[in-house]
């Protein structure tokens, strides 16, 4: 039995002034699934999320959450949505509880009901022992969990998260995804943006790939990351500690022009034309004394989609209003 539709963006187009930002984008998210919006910077991920959150009005297309069109009833629409902005949207000067109380009141909660909801969401993100602590004194990971808790206060069926792991260490990122998986299992629909392939692959049930404001692919991660015979061999690694810039430059020099090296924070990406070249590169990295917490070599088509989107025909997701 198909799960009910939580969000439907149908042929949505957005312009910033005269610059097109989204071009006939269609996305659907059902309850009980996590959908990742994936794409390089400027591909339209955050714009899509802003449209879904009701912060941007599309000049064409329709936006519907749980059967309510935003244009028809903005208030009812807003009640279906829980937004988690990229930066923790919290008042550092107030306690965790005061922040939750404030945002709860904006959603019409009050009195006993509000107190219960605050207690429930704090428990849900495992922060019930931090209720009286000032937000400014919390770690980045705890702030992000509280950020999520604020969005859960009115128990919305749909959660929208804008690059939720951008400033998190691996442990906090894993904890956040564990929270999201619990919420999904409880029947929430989750739409998040990311530009990390590994996150999209392991954390999402479905992926929508955007490039220059268009959907170029969508589907299950297993379908998208299926190894392509023509694809490059790629390895994703999690560095134990950040590398100094000079070290990265030296590594790039030693690996030569046939191997691509990218280091973003503690993420490492190596790409080569063949598996053999990739194996040599990995060996050189390890003999250089660079410690990796983990590494994987899964991608195929998804890698191609993100690195060489022009080679892929845009693809539209079928719309189903059921």
């Amino acid at each position: 039995m198909p799960r009910s539709l939580a969000l439907l963006l149908n042929d949505v187009s957005v312009r910033y002034g005269s610059t097109p930002a989204l071009d006939a984008v269609s996305v659907e998210v059902r309850r009980g699934e996590i959908v990742g919006l994936l794409g390089p910077n400027g591909s339209g991920k955050s714009t899509t999320l802003a449209v879904a959150a009701g912060l941007l009005e599309p000049f064409a297309g329709t936006v519907t959450a749980c059967g309510t069109r935003r244009a028809d009833d903005p208030t009812a629409y807003a009640m279906h949505i829980g937004l988690v902005p990229q930066e923790p949207a919290l008042y550092d000067e107030l306690t965790a509880e005061s922040n939750l109380t404030y945002f709860g009141r904006l959603y019409g909660l009050s009195g006993y009901d509000l107190r219960c909801r605050v207690g429930t969401v704090l428990e849900r993100v495992r922060m019930d022992d931090r209720a009286g602590q000032r937000v400014g004194t919390l770690s980045g990971g705890l702030k992000q969990r509280l950020n999520l808790a604020c969005a859960l206060l009115h128990d919305p069926p749909l959660l929208l998260l804008d690059e939720p792991t951008a400033a998190l260490d691996p442990a906090s990122r894993d904890a956040l995804f564990a929270d999201l998986h619990r919420l999904r299992d409880a029947g929430h629909a989750v739409l998040l943006t990311t530009h990390h392939l590994d996150e999209a692959e392991t954390g999402c049930d479905r992926i929508v790939v955007l490039d220059r404001g268009k959907v170029i692919a969508s589907g299950k991660p297993s379908d998208l990351v299926r190894t392509s015979p023509t694809g490059r061999a790629v390895l994703y690694g999690q560095l134990r500690e950040r590398l100094p810039l000079f070290f990265t430059r030296g590594l790039r020099k030693r690996l030569g022009p046939d191997v691509e090296v990218e280091v973003t924070g503690r993420r490492l990406r190596l790409a080569a034309d063949t598996q053999e070249q990739l194996g040599h590169a990995l060996a050189l990295v390890l003999t250089d004394g660079i410690a990796l917490d983990s590494y994987r070599t899964p991608p195929g088509r998804l890698e191609t989609l993100l690195r060489h989107p022009a080679a892929v025909e845009p693809r539209r997701e079928p719309c189903d209003a059921s």
């Binding site: 807003a78 902005p85 949207a89 945002f103």
Partner: protein, 392 residues
């Protein structure tokens, strides 16, 4: 409706909590206007008892050593109106230049001819020069009057003494100063300074509140707030409510301190005072929203706001009584809310004005606040709509 009211109170309550979250900063918000008002009051306090009036410091230069000229100089030195000292011309020039003091009167050679002056005589008039430092123009006019009176008294004595004797030469009339304020209970400079500085600080508080909103609009907090099922008007009204409530508290605390420390008293209508306090608090809130609405960037808004607030404070008579301003400035000041607020506070504090008297000022301030609020809300709603359509 109920949801929007709940949202207004939520925003106001949150801002109230944020204000008091930093206790030291909150304390300073009350201490600064009190310190400023006390300093201004101390500097500008003058005795109101005319018998203890301040004497004008004055230098006297005698280029004529005749007995009549010397007698005039001695009258000035011994009189109660000026604090005069006889010096040489060089010393007078040097000291006037240094403003120690800023005025000197020079009795020229030939001044003695006045001793033989007859009414109707067509003789050349000697010219008494008043040397003054450019910063003491007002005092030079005061000196001119005192010197003229002293010379004329001495002339009258010379011409009329043979007929009536010394005893009959006093002025044939009396002059009495009367403070023309009904119900006056004792003016002191602190009444004016506490009203003025409180008003000025309220405008600064309004500005700060507006800058906070400006800053909030650039943060992710604004995204979450705007994604909530709450209208922009409710959010703005909540902001205005908290700003006004804190401003009202500042008025009460500042005046309470003024009353306890310096005897600043509401001698007129207390209800009138409270209505004025509410209206100026609303004005502070509306000013804040206006800053957020038209300020552009935070740095630009801060610079322009400070300039405007200092300008309207000076013209509105918040620092010094407005009568020291030129006529055109006083006329211009009638178009400013600060002028009306100051008139209202002067009225109910030391002038003993009743409720009815204060209502004109209150109505004017409320009018300005409503105008600012309407412009700010309209502008912010337009700006948000443009942002939502991807145009800003």
């Amino acid at each position: 409706m109920r949801r929007q009211l709940n949202a207004i109170l939520a925003v106001a309550g949150k801002d109230w909590q944020l204000f008091f979250a930093d206790k030291r900063a909150a304390l300073l918000c009350f201490v600064v206007p009190i310190a400023l008002a006390s300093a201004f009051g101390l500097i500008f306090a003058r005795p109101t008892d005319r018998t203890n009036a301040v004497q004008l410091p004055l230098l006297v230069v005698l280029d004529d050593a005749g007995p009549f000229t010397r007698a005039v100089a001695e009258d000035l030195v011994n009189g109660a109106r000026v604090d005069a000292e006889i010096v040489t011309a060089d010393e007078a020039r040097r000291r006037v230049n240094d403003r120690q003091p800023g005025i000197a009167v020079v009795f020229p050679a030939g001044f003695e001819t006045l001793a033989s002056w007859k009414p109707g005589a067509a003789a050349d008039k000697p010219t008494v020069r008043v040397l003054y430092n450019p910063l003491c123009h007002g005092e030079s006019l005061w000196a001119e009057g005192v010197v003229s009176e002293t010379v004329m008294r001495r002339l009258a004595k010379a011409h009329l003494a043979p007929f009536v004797g010394d005893a009959g030469l006093s002025l044939p009339f009396a002059v009495a100063g009367v403070e023309a304020v009904d119900g006056h209970h004792g003016f002191n400079a602190y009444s004016h300074s506490f009203s003025g500085m409180t008003l000025q600080y309220l405008l600064f508080w309004g500005m700060e509140s507006g800058l906070l909103l400006l800053r909030d609009r650039q943060r992710s907090l604004w995204l979450r707030t705007r994604a909530a099922p709450v209208s922009l008007s409710s959010i703005l009204l909540g902001k205005a409510l908290s700003t006004a409530a804190i401003a009202f508290l500042q008025v009460l605390v500042t005046f309470a301190f003024g009353h306890l420390a310096f005897g600043v008293t509401v001698t007129g209508s207390f209800v009138g005072f409270l209505l004025l306090a509410v209206s100026v608090s609303a004005l502070a809130a509306a000013t804040g929203l206006l800053v957020a609405a038209v300020g552009g960037t935070e740095a630009r808004a801060r610079s322009v706001s400070i300039l405007l607030i200092l300008g309207v404070s000076m013209l509105g008579g918040l620092w010094l009584p407005s009568f020291v301003l030129p006529g055109w400035a006083r006329d211009l000041a009638l178009s400013l809310p600060t002028t009306w607020a100051m008139r209202g506070f002067d009225g109910v504090t030391w002038q003993g004005g009743g409720l009815w008297d204060s209502l004109t000022s209150t109505a004017a301030v409320v009018g300005f606040a409503a105008l600012f609020l309407a412009v700010a809300v309209a502008r912010l709603i337009t700006s948000e709509a443009r942002r939502r359509r991807g145009l800003a």
